[in-house]
Symmetry: C2
Subunit: 565 residues, 2 copies
């Protein structure tokens, strides 16, 4: 591709609304342009990267035994009403009416469509398992689209679905996709972790997220420093055996704590370690109030609460509700004397001795509080967030935290959608059975951003070879000089014939501009044709580490073969 003929509008300035590196660099290096908030056009370079990512995804999905199909963006509301998501998806689901006033959703995901197709077309166990995928454009009206391709409103996704007669068959395909994803993200060059995740609004159980590690990731990953264990912090189980101290049990006592509200304030005021405090939060779980306790230095994890209660909504009660049901403001709540409200406590609480907690009266706390003696807990359970330094739940090593960008997700959906949409089959005995499903996504456009987050320096992008828009950046320092133009043209043809994709900077710009653009664009290798052109000498420079050398063009083929091997 000749630079002069295509559109690579590089920018010197950092666009003001681009907060993160991938957003800045993809704009600055001319890969894309914003059309509306969260909506982008991929310019020629950006499109090439997208297509390379797609090709890798396709290849591995096919190897995993998945068949590609293509479903529409326009989805009749009826199907979404059947699963109930028309009502629960909220304003993230884009909706429109056609000219006959029929309601449609713009596909945010395709469980409804694929399940209805399979329901209509697959009737026998003989045709299962069935594994299909597509690469297609999705629409989600994010409240705050930002970070460029990381959180857009129109984006490219690979979504895959599998249908099964049994949990075992699902497990087998799930593992296969897990391996395919591992292959895909490895080939993409990403530093990633597969982490245990929460299934959120998708309604499944067993699920993993594939996280590209990055400081700007919005998800926190808890991982072991000595094993493969990794989980989204929302889901990471805590498996600590808490030892009860052998200190003597004291009489409970009420103390004044004027103006002391947070755990830290009260601990300081009472000169007691924060681990001795019981944190008490009133939650509304679906329609019931539950008082949730944990140790003062821990944080309550509402996802765990949601799972324990199999609830559809978990939220902190309002200050007014706390006042009404417990008689005090936030900061003075506690379990002592609470009746008619269920109390659940983190397992750590069970081992606490002579603790302190709010007295359900403003500016009052109890000290020397002891569980079971001073209050009744209906259930001890793992309800807190894991912390750095906790032992890894798999028993190997210690937990550390990292930030991650979710680039893929595999779910065991189970029978939820199949039941709601009536996707059943006849088993070997001729009995009607509900299908079991899995679903598997990769954010194709988001992957591009994640790669740039991991592969850049202060001068620009540093593409991995597998997804670089072009292999070689051929730069003629001064294409007006005949020897340079001639050699550059010759190399352009020769390298293209050898199967390399070459971006040829044939512009009559200053060398400084060309070099800066080249670093910004970030192809793996730059070949510069300059003043030694007449001798057949060019300069090769590697983008990943800045290594450069002069090379006789007779040695170029071998050099490139080795580099791209």
């Amino acid at each position: 591709m000749r630079h002069s003929q295509t559109m690579i509008p590089t920018l010197k300035e950092i666009p003001s609304d681009a907060e993160i590196k991938s957003h800045q660099l993809l704009l600055r290096a001319g890969y894309m342009r914003q059309i509306a908030s969260g909506v982008y056009s991929y310019l020629p370079l950006g499109n090439k990267v997208i297509k390379k990512v797609e090709a890798i995804v396709r290849d591995e999905m096919e190897k995993a035994g998945f068949f590609e199909m293509l479903m529409p963006a326009l989805q009749p509301s009826e199907l979404w009403k059947d699963t109930g998501r028309w009502y629960t998806y909220g304003s993230e689901l884009m909706r429109l009416n056609d000219r006959h006033d029929r309601e449609f959703a713009l596909g945010a995901t395709h469980e409804e469509i694929i399940t209805s197709i399979v329901r209509d077309e697959v009737k026998s166990y003989k045709k299962l398992p069935l594994n299909v995928y597509q690469i297609q454009t999705k629409f989600r009206d994010e409240k705050r689209p930002r970070f460029g391709l990381l959180r857009g409103r129109e984006f490219i996704m690979k979504d895959a679905y599998s249908f099964h007669t049994s949990k075992e068959s699902l497990d087998e395909v799930y593992d296969r996709v897990f391996q395919a994803y591992t292959n895909i993200f490895s080939r993409l060059g990403l530093n990633f972790r597969a982490v245990i995740a929460d299934s959120g609004a998708m309604g499944g159980k067993d699920t993993h997220e594939f996280m590209a590690l990055s400081d700007i990731g919005e998800d926190t990953i808890a991982y072991s420093d000595r094993s493969n264990f990794a989980a989204n912090i929302e889901m990471a189980p805590v498996s600590v055996t808490y030892e009860k101290s052998d200190e003597e049990i004291q009489e409970r006592e009420e103390v004044d704590t004027p103006g002391q509200k947070t755990m830290e304030e009260v601990a300081n005021f009472l000169s007691l370690p924060i681990e001795k405090g019981i944190k008490s939060l009133l939650f509304k779980i679906d329609d019931a109030y539950v008082l949730v306790l944990c140790r003062g230095d821990h944080e309550i994890n509402d996802i765990k609460l949601k799972n324990i209660y199999q609830a559809s909504e978990v939220e902190l009660a309002t200050p007014e509700e706390a006042k009404e049901h417990l008689g005090a403001d936030f900061g003075s709540l506690g379990p002592v004397g609470v009746e008619n409200i269920e109390i659940i406590a983190d397992t750590a609480v069970q081992a606490m001795v002579n603790s302190y907690c709010g007295a359900n009266e403003n500016d009052k706390h109890y000290i020397n509080v002891n569980p079971d003696r001073d209050f009744k807990v209906s259930q001890y359970a793992d309800v807190r967030f894991i912390q750095e330094g906790d032992p890894s739940p798999d028993g190997q090593g210690t937990i550390k935290f990292a930030q991650g960008i979710e680039v893929g997700h595999v779910f065991k959906l189970g029978k939820l959608y199949a039941e709601k949409l009536g996707a059943s089959y006849l088993d070997e005995q001729g009995k009607q059975q509900t299908m079991t499903m899995g679903c598997y996504g990769i954010g194709v456009s988001r992957v591009v951003a994640a790669i740039v987050e991991q592969f850049h320096d202060d001068k620009g992008i540093q593409w991995p070879k597998s997804v670089t828009p072009f292999d070689v950046h051929l730069v003629a320092i001064n294409p007006k000089k005949e020897d340079q133009a001639e050699l550059a043209e010759q190399l352009y043809n020769q390298l293209s014939d050898q199967g390399y994709e070459v971006l040829y900077d044939d512009r009559t710009e200053r060398p400084g501009v060309k070099f800066a653009d080249s670093e910004l664009i970030g192809l793996p290798i730059r070949i510069t044709v300059g003043k030694r052109a007449s001798e057949g000498i060019v300069e090769c420079k590697l983008r990943e580490n800045g290594e450069q050398l002069e090379l006789n063009i007779t040695d170029l083929t071998e050099y490139l073969e080795r580099f791209f091997a």
Copy 2:
């Protein structure tokens, strides 16, 4: 691909709402399913054909010097308001509001987006011409979606755009795309014609449609039986030299024609040839009334009127309007005595002698009417439809009609969009100039339907080799027999290794079912492994002509090489 593992839901019955062959066969052979009116899912086979068409389109567009990009479906209304199409496109343009109540169009086409991008990014003549394309999903809310993929509401299109500093540069690229399209449709195997077309709502001038010839096509093509001339009937110019007869001019006379309204009725009633009648129609052209005349055996072409008057709307006046302005009902209108209303006549009228026409009084006609003596014509022009038997406008041969399916379209847009959106550049003198544009579309999903219309018999589809979803249909008659299963597996692996795409029917269905499905699905060649499997003998059958022969598997490689050469 193993049939048993994928989803190819063939149907015995013709779906009741599928009127044409391609719609019927693509449904029956399991290539696609309808999700909503005019909205389809492509199942694995259908997706494969789509991807093959896309690959051919991509290849030729790249060779023609176009760069691929990818623009979004969500398009801010502001851009469509700038070009005015927000108001003129009507209900075919799908619209929606986002969560913040901002208006969006779902891209029916991308002139607005690409022109705004180029406006913002390309400022100098040095960066022109610029040629870009995309393959992307379009949305048009057709009033009557029908004929399956021929007229859908969500469909795949290749759209391309070019930007120029001059008409000559546009001409050059237009010709290149014209050649690329010729290559594409030839490689797709289509019997097609490039025809001169009307630019319709797109607002350009020079334009050609690429028509796949088919009886079910909704467009009529007028073509020469002796040259390359072809035009959409809407646009075909009429170039006939009409000879004035030398009969003696008679006195005009009013005659009673009670109840005689159509040209035929009046001709019969008066015992005069219909070619002696003057057809008189009152049109409303933008806001003015115009009386349009042609010979009785001709038809008036409102597109020609529109072009002559450079009007935005041309419609027939209502009976009430005719009565008000001319004093009679339809069937008795005529030019004699008409004042204050412009009269335009087809050039054929100029040569008419002693004609008859309506007298602007119900049930009355004039005979022996002569133009210029009896009424004044403001302009003689080509305003009629060409007819079969007319001489070809290029002077070679005679016009014949054929029906066509529009599969591609090339336009010289000129400066229309660039002006409305302010896409300008600085020329070599540093002067600001408006860009000149071309745009070029191919209906990718429609092409698939057009191919099936041309390539089928009463048993099913007969794919051309270039777009067939698989090269070879491998059928094991009875895969439960060990020798058949073994040989089929061996061939499946061998042919796949040799680079053929093989659909392997490994089902335990009756042979009749498998053969019927095979003809329906329509791969170019079927290889049947049957009772002579143990001898290494298979049967090869060509789908295009039913030719079949038995072959030793040792000869298979050579046979296939020759067939697919």
